[in-house]
Symmetry: C2
Subunit: 84 residues, 2 copies
């Protein structure tokens, strides 16, 4: 099995109320210099070693991200091999 | 301003119902080989260049993560300098 990370973030220009709320809360806590805040998702998946990139892309498009308003990137977190 | 990324993930052993739901949905979609799925948050913050690490840590402990059940890591996404 290998570990895949998928990061899902809102596209530029899409309203991010969660980020706005965090920014406001940080200001209230005294961190006045904080600027824009954006919140995304970080999904780690364990998939078989022979999973093709196309399948990972399909998982993202169909379930993990909403391609209309979200961007996603797929990365490899780590390769794990079983002890012999 | 510099861009900071904070990743917030559930600690090992904490139940992750969102991950379980995604795993189940991927199986239903035909991706039978998918194993464990975990879902975390990815927060990007714009902070002043001179923000000390201690302040970033305080933001995480006080607001961005729940240190009882969540781990967090702080990273630098990019340094941006203004045009002269």
């Amino acid at each position: 099995m290998k570990k895949i990370t998928v990061t899902v973030t809102l596209k530029k220009g899409v309203l991010d109320p969660q980020g706005k709320a965090i920014s406001g809360a940080l200001h209230s806590l005294g961190f006045a210099g904080v600027g824009d805040v954006h919140v995304g998702k970080l999904i780690t998946l364990e998939v078989p070693d022979d999973t093709p990139d196309a399948a990972l892309k399909e998982m993202c498009e169909k379930l993990l991200a909403n391609p209309v308003i979200e961007d996603y990137t797929i990365g490899i977190a780590e390769n794990r091999c079983c002890a012999a």
